[in-house]
């Protein structure tokens, strides 16, 4: 009397369109674990439909305000500490309130850019290969491998004293450095075991300084902007964490799993992968930050905030330079920030205030058009007159 698994599948297929995908796949999975009779299946389907119907938002609900409050209220309980670590003790990551503010502000560069680089399945568990990739990613400049640079005005040369510990750790040879330094124009390179001298033709302090900074900033290896990498074993696979972010270049590297690799730089994601990816990044970053602080916030609120930031196809900040500054209503903008400028500008443009939003209606002293205020009653005069005649 139990239904065949195929039969069960066929029956639930009918409601696929009626319920959210996540619920449907959970239903599919849960039903594969138990045996049910026809009557029970009907009951289950009915109950799921009823529950889903119950949980829908009601028209008129001020979802925006609820979302803003749901993110703003717990933020008072967050810490301000910028240190902390995201699983890796060696890396600093901004967390807590400063990070949330950063996300909402859509800053061009986060204060601590980091990437989490996953490797393709076939090499993820191979320590040596992972190390190789890590080496390829980490950018090394001459400055990283020297103890100090000395400027010698008498002999007119810059001497770089190498740090052997760093050289060994980063597996860089003296020759490599020399090779990279040779192209610096007008400079003669000499070297012995632990120092490199750059002879400068015309001896002036200015010239020496120029050469010294140029030499120190010379890239030896790796991807620009990635200052440091840390490798960590997570479960079976190796994951690379970086300080500094350059998604575009990292994704080009062979062996990197481009489907899972991520960065905390939202605008970079927008540039490389597009708005939808940026939207998801905003949601995930905000959710991770809140969860790390032990605060419960429903993901739907974060989605709405992210959607509001990205509706126009670009990532806009929450605030006067973004969403709030581009509102249609003059009064709403004036009531937020930079009051006078908005009013003056409106004068030139002859802007029309339609009084549809919240603040606008508060200002003119009318009920706002949210929730119970959304309902409008209209009367058709002709009908009324006809009735009277009758």
């Amino acid at each position: 009397m139990f239904l065949e698994p195929d039969e069960v599948k066929k029956r639930i297929e009918k409601i696929r369109e009626e319920i959210p995908r996540s619920v449907f796949s959970e239903l599919e999975e849960e039903l594969s674990k138990v045996e049910v009779t026809e009557e029970e299946l009907n009951k289950i389907i009915e109950e799921i439909k009823r529950r889903y119907d119950y949980s829908l938002v009601e028209p008129g609900e001020a979802v925006g305000i609820v979302a803003a409050q749901s993110m703003g209220e717990p933020s008072t309980q967050m810490t301000m500490r910028t240190f902390h670590y995201a699983g890796v003790a060696e890396l600093n990551v901004t967390l807590g309130l400063p990070r949330i503010i950063e996300i909402v502000d859509a800053r061009r560069v986060p204060s601590t850019p980091t990437m989490t680089i996953y490797l393709k399945e076939d090499i993820a568990e191979d320590r040596e290969k992972a190390k190789g990739i890590a080496k390829k990613i980490e950018s090394v400049t001459v400055d990283d491998v020297i103890k100090r640079a000395e400027m010698d005005l008498i002999d007119s040369k810059v001497t770089l004293i190498l740090d052997e510990y760093e050289l060994k750790r980063r597996e860089i040879t003296l020759e490599e450095i020399v090779e990279k330094l040779t192209p610096i124009k007008g400079v003669e390179v000499e070297y012995n075991e632990n120092q490199i001298s750059l002879k400068v033709p015309n001896p002036s302090m200015k010239e020496l300084r120029k050469v010294a900074t140029r030499a120190r900033g010379q890239y030896l290896r790796g991807i620009k902007d990635i200052q440091r990498v840390v490798m960590r074993k997570e479960g079976k696979e190796y994951v690379i964490y970086t300080e500094g972010s350059n998604l575009k270049e990292v994704l080009k590297i062979d062996g990197v799993d481009i489907t899972r690799t991520k960065t905390n730089d939202i605008l970079e994601i927008h540039k490389v992968l597009g708005v939808e990816a940026a939207r998801n990044a905003i949601i995930n970053e905000a959710l991770d930050t809140l969860e790390e602080q032990g605060l419960m916030v429903d993901i739907r609120h974060l989605m709405l905030i992210a959607d509001m930031m990205t509706v126009d196809g670009e990532v806009k900040a929450i605030g006067r330079h973004g969403v709030s500054g581009e509102k249609a209503s003059v009064l709403a903008r004036a009531a937020f920030e930079i009051t006078v400028d908005h009013l003056l500008k409106a004068g030139i443009k002859g802007e029309v205030e339609e009084l549809r939003g919240i603040v606008e209606n508060v200002i003119v002293g009318r009920p706002v058009r949210l929730g119970t205020g959304m309902v409008e009653l209209k009367m058709r005069r002709e009908l009324e007159e006809k009735r009277e005649e009758a």
């Binding site: 829908l56 938002v57 967050m78 240190f83 949330i100 440091r228 509706v311 969403v323 339609e354």
Partner: protein, 887 residues
């Protein structure tokens, strides 16, 4: 007769043209004097009676209205010479650069202009902001060196902030500027962003200045009888004086230099009249030295017109006082002092049905509770009842009158505590009039308000309209807000003693005699029949679980792990000796204990289930009764905590000391290794950083270890010696405090940190002169090894204060930052709402989300974020069959 108020449909912004200013001006202001010797306003002065009335008793010379009726009327000042409007100086600059100096045409070829025009139209049509196009146009036009129309070569225009323009080497006077702007054709002005219906470029240079009505700048009479004028009036006096002098000088044919100086001065006064905070302009000051508050300052900022008078309004019928707890009232109620109840009123329309009752109230008057403060006749006139003889009024009252009666039991009021961070910060309560002077509230509503009783004050608002009352009752009542929309779980629930009380009553082995059980139930107001007692060795008794089961709906089924769960590797489930596995079947708690996870705020699973499945009425009743039962239980059992709760045995103390000694020794070893250079460096860290990290790690591990030992001994002493430890009970049941708090009290406070590091600041190379320079040891850098109970030594105390101070500063900074962030979030998202087609849209009608949160769900109706709990539904249905099969 009641007037139907007009409804504002739209507001259109625009510039005032000189003609329009002249048209609306009722009076031309010519003299800088305000009043004559007799104190009467001078005609043609700034207080011209034609501009409206501010003094009571007088009539307006223009409209004949009295104070309150006459809205005030504008006047005008004819400026002797034109003056730039500061607010538009930047816009003027951009335009001057984009037009020909001779013919005034836009410096772009006709086809280009046409292209821009088309684009602008396109943008407007789809409702997009055309500003970027206009910006681009002005920028491009600026580049042009020679006019396309008259072939005139263009010169560079410099803008010397705030109001001066220099072309090449010549200064452009406002007159020159105005002439140029006048030459701009309508077509060109349009593509530069002007709406010609309401604005012409030359109107940005003023020739006539509107004088605001006196109602906008009322003068106040001081006690001494002296008149004190508004800042705006002062500023206008300045403008008039200079304007007058300028005029006289021009007429007298004074030298150009003098005229220019005066002109400049007039420009200064008008600039500061509009905005007294322009960069590069010294603010105009009052005689006392205080900068004047002129037009911009009136509108701007938090205390400005927009934010403090238009977006936020003051209300009547409100009260504020200190709050205090009352566990005996329902969560839906609020205790209101009689004093407040006599002050706040509710309008009641007199009907034949209630006339007798209303008359009684009126008879009591405003001084005897329950009474009424005043009555309102159908024509709107009011009679105060604050008099001894009310009989006459009672005679006259008839249906149709409105009586403003005192607040009474059962009235719905709004209750609020600032900061109002979420919607649960304002909830509707039912009034309970009580003696004394504080507002009383049930402790379960502390979490949503974030209230405590250390002197907090709250506000109460009496609702005046029937619609508002109905909405408040249906939508805002406390019981409707049990579930927080933030995470879809209860935010209202038991705290502190409610939790420990329930835990103490339901712990395994707790028994109540029949008599005790009846007493408890009676005190909690539970009238349910007692179930059959448990019989053991011939003795009858009841468990706490049986008592609490009486409060549950009869068909509730639920299984969850309690807060006390220790997360053992192997869970014994129902047989958990601690009662951490709660099983509820058909409304009966079969096993487990009730603690924070059952009905605590933020965590209560059982409460959550009841609200979601049985509705808010059931949940309110459950919460009211369960908390009362718990309170009476804990009162009966007895519960107190004191410093002896942190007593440890000598053995435990010795072990703690040993651990701390070892940790300090290990730190010394690390330092030694560092000094010798054999400390292994962490990748990407300097040696110093590595050392710091290792030391911090060592010390925090040591602290945790001491905490575990303390907890172990406390647990042992309560289990073996039967010495209950209240502090520990509170911590594990989730009532108050955590194990870390216990650790710090009983064992070791641990490392103090400033900016996430050990304490480094102070003298050169050391924190305090008590240490040697360069000492990196545990104690020298702020490790506090004492416990709070033992007490801190002076050095530890000092370090502890440093850490504590940082915490205070941190909190202060955080509140302002998060407050601003929330304001921005609210402002950005406030207009979003769900439409009837279930999409989320803004005011422009743009769809932000097709379904809220991708699945269209309301978070407060979800199961902690889950729309539909599929597995629970399947299991409840399948389990039902199985249990039927068994029986």
């Amino acid at each position: 007769m009641r007037i139907i108020p007009k409804r504002i449909e739209k507001v259109k912004f625009g510039l005032l043209s000189p003609d329009y200013i002249r048209k609306i001006a009722e009076s031309k202001i010519i003299t800088a004097d305000t009043y004559d010797e007799d104190g009467y306003p001078i005609e043609g002065g700034l207080m011209d009676p034609k501009l409206g009335v501010v003094d009571p008793g007088l009539k307006c010379k223009t409209c004949g209205g009295r104070v309150g009726e006459c809205p005030g009327h504008f006047g005008r000042i004819e400026l002797s010479r034109p003056v730039i409007h500061v607010g538009y100086a930047k816009a003027i600059n951009k335009i001057l650069r984009a037009i020909c100096r001779k013919c005034g045409r836009l410096l772009l070829p006709p086809d280009k202009i046409e292209e821009y025009r088309k684009n602008i139209r396109k943008y407007r049509k789809v409702g997009r902001n055309e500003d970027p196009i206009v910006e681009d146009l002005l920028k491009n036009a600026k580049m042009t060196k020679r006019c396309y129309y008259c072939d005139e070569e263009q010169e560079e225009i410099k803008f010397d902030k705030p109001t001066t323009f220099i072309e090449g080497k010549n200064r452009l006077s406002p007159t020159d500027v105005r002439e140029r702007l006048e030459r701009i054709t309508d077509e060109d002005a349009e593509v530069m962003g002007f709406d010609l219906e309401v604005a012409r470029p030359e109107w940005m240079v003023l020739t006539v200045l509107p004088v605001p009505p006196v109602t906008v700048r009322p003068s106040i009479t001081l006690e001494s009888g002296e008149r004190s004028e508004d800042d705006l009036t002062h500023k206008l006096v300045d403008i008039l004086r200079i304007n007058q002098r300028l005029m006289e000088n021009i007429e007298a044919g004074a030298p150009q230099l003098i005229i220019e100086d005066l002109w400049e001065l007039l420009q200064y006064h008008i600039t500061t009249y509009f905005n007294n905070e322009v960069a590069g302009v010294p603010p105009a000051r009052h005689r006392s030295g205080r900068p004047l508050k002129t037009l911009t300052q009136r509108l701007k900022g938090k205390e400005g017109r927009f934010r403090s008078n238009l977006s936020g309004k003051r209300v009547n019928f409100s009260a504020r006082t200190v709050i205090s707890p009352d566990p005996n009232i329902s969560i839906n109620e609020v205790g209101v002092p009689e004093l407040v109840a006599r002050e706040l009123t509710i309008p009641v329309r007199v009907t034949p049905q209630n006339i007798e009752y209303v008359k009684k109230l009126v008879k009591n008057g405003s001084r005897i509770y329950p009474g009424a403060n005043y009555v309102e006749r159908p024509d709107g006139s009011r009679v105060s009842l604050n008099i001894k003889r009310t009989e006459e009024i009672i005679e006259k009252i008839e249906p149709g009158w409105i009586v403003h009666r005192h607040l009474q039991d059962g009235d719905i009021v709004l209750f609020n505590r600032q900061p109002s961070l979420h919607r649960m910060s304002i909830m509707a309560h039912e009034v309970r009039v009580m003696p004394y002077k504080t507002f009383r509230l049930n402790l379960c509503v502390c979490p949503p308000y974030n209230a405590d009783f250390d002197g907090d004050e709250m506000n109460l608002h009496a609702i005046q309209g029937e619609e508002a009352r109905a909405e408040a009752r249906v939508l805002m009542r406390v019981q409707e807000q049990i579930l927080s929309p933030r995470f879809g779980g209860p935010i209202i629930g038991g705290i502190h003693d409610y939790i420990s009380g329930a835990y103490l009553m339901t712990r395994p082995g707790v028994r109540f005699t029949r008599e005790e059980a009846h007493q408890l139930l009676y005190a909690a107001g539970i009238t349910e029949e007692l179930p059959d007692p448990i019989v053991e060795n011939g003795a009858e008794f009841y468990t706490g679980l049986q008592l609490f089961s009486l409060l549950l709906p009869k068909d509730i089924n639920l299984t969850y792990r309690a807060k006390i769960c220790k997360k053992h590797e192997v869970c014994k489930k129902e047989d958990c000796p601690y009662g951490a596995y709660v099983v509820i079947r058909n409304g009966e708690i079969l096993s487990g204990v009730l603690d924070e996870k059952s009905f605590g705020a933020f965590a209560g699973e059982l409460l959550d289930r009841i609200v979601k499945d049985y509705g808010t009425d059931a949940a309110r009743e459950f919460l009211d009764k369960a908390t009362k039962l718990a309170i009476n239980g804990i009162t009966k059992i007895g519960f107190s905590t004191g410093i002896d709760d942190e007593d440890l045995t000598t053995e435990a103390r010795e072990r703690i000391e040993e651990i701390l000694d070892n940790a300090e020794k290990k730190v010394e070893e690390l330092i030694e290794a560092y000094n010798e250079g054999i400390l292994e460096q962490l990748p990407g860290r300097t040696l110093e950083e590595t050392l710091e990290m290792r030391i911090m790690q060592t010390l925090s591990e040591a602290r945790d270890k001491t905490g575990n030992i303390a907890n172990e001994y406390l647990e042992k002493s309560s289990e073996e010696l039967g010495r209950e430890n209240s502090a520990r009970i509170m911590a594990i049941s989730g009532a108050r405090g955590s194990l870390l708090n216990l650790t710090q009290m009983a064992a070791c406070i641990g490392q103090q940190a400033v900016r996430g590091e050990r304490i480094m600041r102070g003298y050169v190379g050391r924190t305090l002169p008590h240490f040697k320079r360069g000492d990196k040891g545990a104690r020298a850098k702020g490790f506090v090894r004492s416990s709070y109970k033992k007490g801190l030594d002076p050095l530890e105390y000092f370090f502890h204060s440093m850490g504590g101070r940082e915490g205070l500063v941190d909190t202060a900074v955080r509140t302002s930052q998060s407050g601003y962030m929330q304001r921005r979030l609210i402002n950005a998202l406030q207009d979003l709402k769900v439409e009837y087609d279930n999409t989320v849209r803004d005011t422009r009608g743009i769809i932000v989300e097709f379904a809220h949160g991708e699945d269209g769900a309301d978070p407060s109706r979800t199961d902690w974020g889950k729309v539909v709990n599929v597995s629970k539904i399947i299991h409840s249905i399948v389990d039902q069959r199985e249990s039927e099969n068994v029986s």
